[in-house]
Amino acid sequence: MNGSFLRQTWQNLVQNPWLNAITLGTIALSFLVLGLFLVVFLNTKGLLEEWGSRIRVTAYLSGPVDPDQAMRLKEKVQGLEEVREVQYRSKEEALRILEERMPERKEWLRGLPRNPLPASLEVHLKGEYQNSEGVQSLVKKMRGIPGIEDLQYGSDWLEKFSAFMALLKVLGLSLGGLLLLATILVISNTIRLNIFARKEEIEIMRSVGATGFFIRAPFYMEGILQGFLGAVLALAMLYAFFQLFLSRVYEPLKGLLGSFPVQFLTWEQMAAMGLGGVVLGLFGTQVSVGRYLRL
């Protein structure tokens, strides 16, 4: 019986090779665009998280600070809800770092009558506070602490980046939704044409007493196969594009992007795409079978 299903499915596919090829191409293209969005989105999200983890607030301390004072301040800041880690940087350490960064000015810096750099606390935030709100809330609390003269933090870029991510999400979801809808329509149209092409065969099957399941099953298998193959084809193309991106764009720009590793979809995400193809195939078939193959 299964052999018959497969034979019927195969016949459906070869009966209209161009139609089926176009269908497969359209499904693959839809999934390719979706996949591209997913890869860009996931990597951008990763990049944002990576950058977010670098967020810190620098608190410059007022006047000369003795180590005890510094330790008390450090403990106080460490006790705040948003804080993961605090590092104390003395005036001397600050000067040494500056000297390292500007070796050509080393002599000039040493020639200064007194160290102009303030001591500071480098405050790192906990993961859940590594965003603009977290930074704002921490800064508000730290402003009230005596001994802290000035605070330096930068979260504007973070806000803009979050807005960009939200836009990407909306764009990806709406375009994705449209493409999925188009895919369902394309599949259902192909199945509809195959139902019409096999109208006589279906009539004969009905007349001899073939069950509804037997008549419908090849169409469902065809839809599922098209959806699945379309998704697999899209994944293959996506992987090829990804490799091309790695060699042509990522490697040359690696210095700019830092150590952030660009990633392809995980196995789970790829499996989900394959499954998505199957579900779309089923859905597309159902639309046409429900309408044109009432038994």
Binding site: I204, R206, S207, V208, G209, A210, F214, I215, L295
Partner: protein, 227 residues
């Protein structure tokens, strides 16, 4: 076998396609459903293989109550029937053998059994040498026999044929009638719808005469329903 009691069928624009039909066909009978074009023969046959449901009345075929038959049970009814359509419904891109094999496969038969049974059926209708021909390469009579072979592939208890001699020469028509008689001799009940008076007179059998959707003559109809 077949029992219709006060059956009517109305369509939009044709309220009396069939009107108050009461007939009985017993097991093993060979009966003509005779009447002019438009008398309701095809509609009556459609009611018998559950392609249509009656507007009112009772229809029972091979033990199935067709008025209350659930759609998913229709295949079970059809497996007890053999259907020969007026337009034959042969698959033009498949050979004679493949046409029969297709019907068997649709019933879920195994591949080995399909070939064996298809060849047996072709032999039975005298088409064994034409197995690899496409329908278009067969004569009208041969095409008719191929359609009959496909109809009896599942050893039906009831064979329904709609105008099977419509486009045939006298010789081919006779051949077809002989074939139906042969099938009838195997124990299969045969109902043959025709408007061909010559055929009915030449090979006389029991007949139900339909006129304008009503039965005007029926050999086994209960007396109460004849009025």
């Amino acid at each position: 076998m077949i029992e219709m009691i006060h059956v009517s069928k109305a369509y939009e624009g044709n309220p009396h396609a069939l009107f108050d039909i009461t007939i009985r066909v017993e097991k093993g009978q060979f009966i003509y459903l005779f009447g002019p074009n438009g008398a309701g023969k095809s509609t009556l046959l459609k009611l018998l293989y559950a392609a249509e449901r009656p507007t009112s009345g009772e229809v029972r075929v091979n033990g199935f109550d067709l008025v209350r038959l659930k759609p998913r049970r229709i295949p079970s009814l059809r497996r007890t029937l053999g259907l020969v359509f007026q337009d034959l419904k042969l698959l033009q891109r498949r050979t004679a053998e493949e046409n029969i094999a297709f019907a068997l496969e649709a019933l879920g038969a195994e591949k080995g059994e399909v070939l064996k049974k298809a060849n047996q059926a072709l032999r039975w209708v005298g088409l064994e040498r034409r197995a690899t021909c496409l329908p278009s390469e067969l004569s009208a009579g041969e095409q008719q026999r191929l359609a009959v072979a496909r109809a009896i592939i599942n050893d039906p208890v009831l064979l329904l044929a709609d105008e099977p001699t419509g486009n045939l020469s006298l010789a081919a028509a006779e051949e077809t009638i002989r074939l139906f008689e042969k099938i009838n001799l195997r124990g299969t009940t045969v109902v043959l719808a025709t408007h061909n008076e010559g055929l009915v007179n030449r090979w006389p059998k029991d007949k139900i005469i339909l006129e304008q959707g009503r039965v005007s003559e029926s050999p086994l109809a209960p007396p109460s329903a004849n009025g």
